[in-house]
């Protein structure tokens, strides 16, 4: 399985985007591979916005998990729970 990681530009993030992605990766199976540039072959794209403005360009036609600051799909979570919530979303697919 291939997961795309798409970051926003990071002008003033209110969450630590890199740490979140690391925590997510630690919980995903070892055979998952990651792609940062070309999302064509990705099954899912994790879009990591540093704040709720969510300005990252979202790749079209893809299954998206959208983090926007401390929110996922609009629901707010403590920062240390974000990775678990991403995994929940991923597992539910």
């Amino acid at each position: 399985m291939k997961i795309g990681i798409k970051y926003c530009g990071g002008c003033n993030p209110v969450i630590n985007r890199k740490r979140l992605v690391k925590q997510v990766m630690q919980q995903l199976p070892d055979d998952v591979s990651y792609e940062y540039f070309d999302f064509n072959d990705c099954d899912v794209v994790l879009v990591v916005n540093g704040c709720s403005i969510a300005c990252a360009e979202v790749p079209s036609g893809k299954d998206i998990i959208m983090v926007a600051g401390p929110t996922i799909d609009g629901w707010e979570y403590p920062e240390d729970k974000l990775a678990d919530k991403v995994i929940e979303k991923w597992s539910a697919r």
Partner: protein
């Protein structure tokens, strides 16, 4: 696009004639006075390859369709103008200081637009030359100095009336293949570690100033071009580490006087030649582009300063005091106000006749006007919260000394849970970030405060505001629909 390392390697190929502290510096790249500024600029290259920042750091060229470093981009939309502001803040948060590359970027956008308008009036071919130049910069990912400020001599006199004719850059000879220029550009940010300089005139001109109405580009290692690198507050600390405060990235941009001693410029690199009525337009374009930036790069730099100040409050054990909280709030308020107006200048930007986007002039001027005050006020609050020890800390040599080191650590300890060294390091960062050179940049960079106020009044449309007031109280006037 170049990586940071490729950029540094490319600097080693240059033969720039640079002087500092009474000697010619042959190895600019490894010079400890200049190296921090090189590290900062290198980061702007590396960020284009970092997935965490590439959404802002990479753009698509309107000239070639290729992916380019955003610092070489001709602004194509409101989105670009907003991304510019966000990108600069992102870098400022990482460097805590000026990263130099925005000046040349703004210069390219100014020359690109004005050359188009000169061509429309005179049938010249400056715009095609400007496009070729920008393409060359984009494809080689070069760093360009934005050269506007002349030494100016007597500020009350126009260029042609100066007792010394060289106090504004001017054309001293016209040849078949190009022109010979003489003069200097002062305070040139990043000049020691850039590849190119893009020169523009600095004040509006009358027909008598024709020879001074010149815009051109040159590689900085062109024969006849020499640089004299400027001193900074406490710059001898660059010979050490800790006392610098920001040892990797330094303070401000590393400015130099760039002198043109009869340098030759081929015609294909000349973008204005005697069209005095377009000089004011070029000055205003560059100033407006550049003023938007100050609520962006400085917002990032001040984010670091606010963080450092809040840490000092923790280290000193005063975090909970209400006046401390209030002062931190004040710092945040001023910083976000500046960033908001920088963003507004982008969101309200407009297309110029050449097709590139241009910030909202009032919002860009407000942004710069505010930084001339707020940066000083923010630094005052940082000093207030940090305490006097940043003015009296012993040197890093004394810290390393087996006799004095332990005593310093003992007596400079704050909150017992924090190592004294952390408190000292943070103190040094604040000292250097709030000192002379960094503040003067906020005052005069992109123009002294009065220059913004003149534009604010011009664009305020006072006559309409008077009509509004008359309407409200029923004084006879044309009713607003």
């Amino acid at each position: 696009m170049k990586t940071g390392q490729e950029y540094i390697d490319s600097l080693r190929q240059l033969k720039t004639e640079l002087y500092f502290m009474g000697e010619r510096i042959e190895n600019i790249v490894d010079n400890p006075y200049i190296r921090p500024h090189i590290n900062t600029a290198a980061l702007t290259y590396d960020m284009a390859f970092d997935p965490e920042f590439m959404d802002l750091a990479v753009a698509t060229s309107n000239l070639t369709g290729e992916k380019i470093n955003r610092f070489t981009h001709i602004q194509q939309s409101k989105d670009d103008m907003v991304k510019k502001s966000k990108f600069l803040r992102a870098i400022g948060q990482k460097t805590g200081t000026c990263f130099q590359r925005c000046v040349g970027w703004d210069a390219m956008n100014s020359v690109y637009s004005v050359s188009f308008e000169i061509d429309k009036k005179y049938g010249t071919n400056y715009h095609a030359r400007a496009c070729d130049y920008v393409k060359y910069i984009q494809q080689n990912d070069l760093m360009v100095v934005g050269g506007m400020t002349d030494p100016k001599g007597d500020r009350g006199l126009p260029p042609h009336k100066q007792p010394d004719p060289d106090l504004f850059v001017h054309v001293v000879e016209t040849r078949e293949d190009g022109i010979i220029v003489r003069g200097a550009k002062a305070h040139q940010t990043g000049a020691a570690n850039s590849h190119e300089i893009l020169v523009m005139p600095t004040v509006a001109m009358k027909p008598e100033d024709k020879e001074y109405a010149v815009s051109f580009a040159l590689p900085l290692d062109t024969p006849g071009v020499m640089l004299i690198f400027g001193r900074q507050t406490n710059d001898e600390r660059k010979l050490g580490t800790l006392d610098q405060g920001n040892p990797t990235y330094g303070v401000v941009g590393g400015e130099a006087l760039v002198v043109f001693n009869d340098a030759f410029v081929p015609w294909e690199r000349v973008f204005m030649f005697g069209e005095t009525e377009f000089v004011g337009m070029m000055v205003e374009r560059f100033a407006t582009y550049h003023r938007q930036n100050y609520g962006a790069c400085k917002a990032g730099v001040i984010d670091v300063l606010i963080g450092a100040t809040a840490l000092m409050a923790d280290y000193n054990g005063v975090t909970k005091a209400s006046h401390i909280k209030d002062k931190i709030i004040e710092m945040v308020l001023m910083n976000e106000t500046m960033h908001a107006s920088s963003l507004a200048a982008g969101y309200e930007s407009r297309a110029l006749p050449a097709g590139n986007y241009y910030p909202h002039t009032t919002y860009a001027n407000i942004t710069k006007q505010n930084i001339t005050r707020y940066h000083y006020e923010i630094c005052r609050l940082a000093h207030d919260i940090t305490g006097g020890f940043i003015a009296t800390l012993p040197s890093e040599k004394d810290l390393e000394d087996p006799v004095t080191g332990p005593i310093i650590k003992k007596y400079f300890q704050g909150n017992a849970n924090v190592p004294a060294m952390d408190r000292i390091k943070m103190g040094r960062l604040i000292e250097n970030a709030t000192g002379g050179t960094s503040l003067v940049e906020s005052m005069h960079g992109a123009g002294s405060p009065q220059a913004q106020r003149v534009m604010l009044l011009r664009d305020a449309n006072l006559e309409r505001l008077k009509e509004l007031a008359k309407n409200v109280c029923g004084i006879d006037c044309e009713k607003e629909e």
